[in-house]
């Protein structure tokens, strides 16, 4: 149990690091780990006397400072007022394209997922899209997605948005927008670069030396286990409870 807690803590702290410098981060509904990462960033910036960080949690009445209905997040992103967002995917390919629709031939797909949500739009408009998918397996990370819900790079049109990093249960990748491919940045203990190769269905850059994803330092852990879990409990009571129980 404790290792699952440590895994989550590492993911949350890694997300906070990936968000460094953003002023406004939006988080989808039912995304407790990204939300916790954003809250950790906010708490750390406040502690350090830096400008405040805004967090919008979609579907939350409490963390909603929008007043113009469901379109406002999308408009806000189009206006350049959202710096970071999270997307997942039933499939993610080596070019950063994501599939939220299904596998096999459209429309009678073999497996059908809920649908593309706002991905096709937001991927173009939010500068720092963090791909977050806990399951790290060849069925998720494929050479080519069966359906492109949202395309990572489109040289034919100007865009400010796109993938920034890919975070999984096993590793952290950077995304190179010019090359249109991922590069392994660090591996979470106890996994090895060989584990990553084995579980990733797409090709990616692999530097000679691969770092281990750092564990959060003591100050970060204190913040995370205290204030952040309390804040999180307002929106994700079940998740906060399971993190506390694991302590």
């Amino acid at each position: 149990m404790s290792s699952d807690r440590e895994r989550r803590e590492t993911l949350i702290a890694t997300i906070a690091d990936l968000l460094d410098g953003v002023r406004h981060v939006a988080v989808g509904a039912s995304s407790p780990i990204p939300a916790a990462g954003a809250m950790l960033l906010r708490a750390r910036e406040m502690r350090d006397g830096k400008p405040p960080v805004r967090i919008s949690i979609l579907g939350s009445q409490k963390h909603n400072f929008f007043t113009n209905g469901g379109i406002e997040l999308f408009d806000c992103a189009a206006q350049g007022r959202v710096d970071a967002f999270f997307l997942g995917g039933g499939q993610i390919d080596g070019h950063g394209n994501i599939n939220l629709v299904g596998t096999g031939d459209y429309p009678r797909t073999d497996v059908r997922w809920p649908g593309s949500f706002g991905s096709a739009y937001l991927y173009h408009l939010i500068p720092r899209v963090i791909l977050f998918r806990e399951e790290h397996s060849p069925r998720v990370f494929v050479p080519k997605v069966d359906f492109i819900s949202a395309k990572a790079t489109t040289p034919e049109v100007a865009r400010r948005g796109g993938p920034y990093a890919l975070l999984t249960n096993m590793a952290l990748f950077d995304f190179d927008r010019d090359a249109g491919r991922f590069s392994l940045r660090s591996v979470h203990a106890p996994f090895t670069p060989a584990d990553i190769r084995e579980n990733t269905g797409f090709a990616y850059e692999e530097p000679d030396v691969i770092a281990e994803t750092p564990r959060p330092d003591a100050a970060t852990l204190a913040l995370l286990r205290g204030q952040i879990l309390d804040e999180l409990a307002e929106t994700y009571p079940g998740f906060a409870r399971s993190m506390k129980q694991a302590a």
């Binding site: 649908g115 739009y121 489109t154």
Partner: protein, 272 residues
Amino acid sequence: MTEIVALDALVSRIASGQTLAVPVDRSGVAMAATAEIIRAGIDNLHLVCVPISGLQGDLLIGAGAVATLETSAISLGEAGAAPRFGAAIKAGSFRMRDATCPAIHAGLIAAQHGVPFMPIAGIIGSDLLAVRPDWKVIDSPVGDGGKVVVVPAIKPDVALFHAPEADRDGNIRIGRFRELATMAYAAKRTLVTVERIVDRNLLATEDSAAGVLPALYVDAIAVAERGAWPLALWDEYPADEAEIARYAAMARSEEGFRAYLSTFLSHRKQVA
């Protein structure tokens, strides 16, 4: 003129084959009216989810009421995948029109402004463009002439939602859920169920008026207490997560879905 009618009379204004726009779970879903739609045997609907749906969409699909589904997603949220949606996709039992959330908003906004289309940012490169031939990529007629996606106006025959209250003139309190207003502007007819009718005029002060859909856009209202159940109604009651989980489990099979539906319809009948 807004009429205040009984729930079955409200629903009788929806005809089989019409385009029906419904909101996302959190904005106020007319579940009591949905039960009545199924009971009345209204079918062949073109369901437009603004911009996604959950239990309501899955129930209508499972009941065989949907001929065309236009949505950016169908999901039961915490309770997982929408089982009847998945089964119907596999069976090819309706026409699927996959979308992305802001494109559905944009289509309704085009209808709001009385224009045939709206340009929309992003989307380029998505396979949605391949499966939505009604969406076009054009060279922008202004500025640098870059590529931009345009989507056609969405003009539902009926917009249907649930809200906390209406006043006697037919004004509806919608709070910050302005997509409900957009749906009403775009639709030919708007039908609303409410928890209650209040005596005060909702347009009386700037504060209360700001969160109001004016009666001008509302054709008929019916009172349906706990009318969004088992979904949440903002400011009123939370979602009944246990009930939604029960649905998610039972609806995995066609038989389980039928059993759930039968109980659901009779439960809603008792409340009404």
